[in-house]
Symmetry: D2
Subunit: 136 residues, 4 copies
Amino acid sequence: MTASHHRRTFKMNLYVPYAHIDKMGFVYYANYLVYFEMARADMMRQVGTPYGELEKKGVMLPVIEAHCVYKKPAHYDDHLEVNTVVTDIKGVRIRMEYVIKRGDDTLVTGYTEHVCLSPEGKVLKPVPEIRQLTEG
Amino acid sequence: MTASHHRRTFKMNLYVPYAHIDKMGFVYYANYLVYFEMARADMMRQVGTPYGELEKKGVMLPVIEAHCVYKKPAHYDDHLEVNTVVTDIKGVRIRMEYVIKRGDDTLVTGYTEHVCLSPEGKVLKPVPEIRQLTEG
Amino acid sequence: MTASHHRRTFKMNLYVPYAHIDKMGFVYYANYLVYFEMARADMMRQVGTPYGELEKKGVMLPVIEAHCVYKKPAHYDDHLEVNTVVTDIKGVRIRMEYVIKRGDDTLVTGYTEHVCLSPEGKVLKPVPEIRQLTEG
Amino acid sequence: MTASHHRRTFKMNLYVPYAHIDKMGFVYYANYLVYFEMARADMMRQVGTPYGELEKKGVMLPVIEAHCVYKKPAHYDDHLEVNTVVTDIKGVRIRMEYVIKRGDDTLVTGYTEHVCLSPEGKVLKPVPEIRQLTEG
């Protein structure tokens, strides 16, 4: 049994606003990165460490890499579920993976990679508030 | 007693995403118009006529005027309440008013004015699905 | 002859990106506030005081009120001209007016009102860099 | 000598608007996807086939995959150059690569992959207007 069995999946739901729909009637592709970020924030509230508090302690979590695969389009007012898992911490890099679903349909998958950064821009070792996210 | 006593206030809550914060640490001013739109959509779901269904019936509800007064800034991850009231239907113009609060603090007030439009761009009389919103 | 004859109109051009188009095929209404802001920034570069420099000197220029009238829709890849005039400084309030055109057609008009703010959130008298904008 | 020597690099410039800056003072990560899209549109105008015309002919170009690597942050009012190259057409997949620079500094690199799609959602072979982009 691998460690990945213990990873916790965090769920966040949202309705697609009109603001996010493009001319084809689909969610504009950049907005899924916003949904990923909203899901990260929601995850951190769920574990009792809102990201804003982390920043107040002097730990920022900038994205250093992002990836999206668009399988099926989401439409206006669709009720989406964003599933987030912190899959890996390798050295200073933290990897989060996302699956966006509408009912049983997987619409978008993706990942982001982050580092912990001090306000002065120094890369920090992942803090305990982040490391706990990889535990079940 | 005036008609306004019977107006129903619709409430929607949201957490402010990082995407919406500007350099000053405040919600960027255009995003409140997005919150107004999300609140309109939520209102229409609450009364059982999602806006998407209205569009499928051939009724669009474009904004012809918008106004915002910024009293106090909202910050990252603030939990906001958007209060929406359809205050008036004068001829073809429909007016909606908004109050955005964080707890007891009023942060932003504003309004939008709309018309009902056919897909061919013809202005329609406000449809019953909209007129019901002004009833208590 | 009134003072308004001496007001300078600043022009900025842009192509409408796909990101800004909604399901109806029109520019989503909140994006015009972004165009207003881009036009303000362009105006300040034109007069040799980029807004970023103003912030470095400790002067922020938050919006305290915004208004938009939507006359005709803009579409994807339309080439727009945003005309900006600083029309008034009354006490601490600075008013800027905007006209967005596509060729000879006026699509959107609006205004924003601002105050000068210190980093500590204190309202300042409008600084000379702003006052000069009302001169021809 | 490989085919890649013949690829044309298309350049587009932009000033970073305040709307795109986040709390850290950096361009919010999703906005680079908007810059990629603006650069694609600019490229197509440069070769005389604005994307809007392609859509009118019944060819859409949705993104099926997107990737971004964030090396250094961009700030408010930075003057950025987005370099775009259509690097590959493999079967129905079209790949575009991007390098965003501020002066000599590379800030962000990335790619998008696209297919040509009919209005009915049928995947088409890449049309000549797209294929020409891979030629020098």
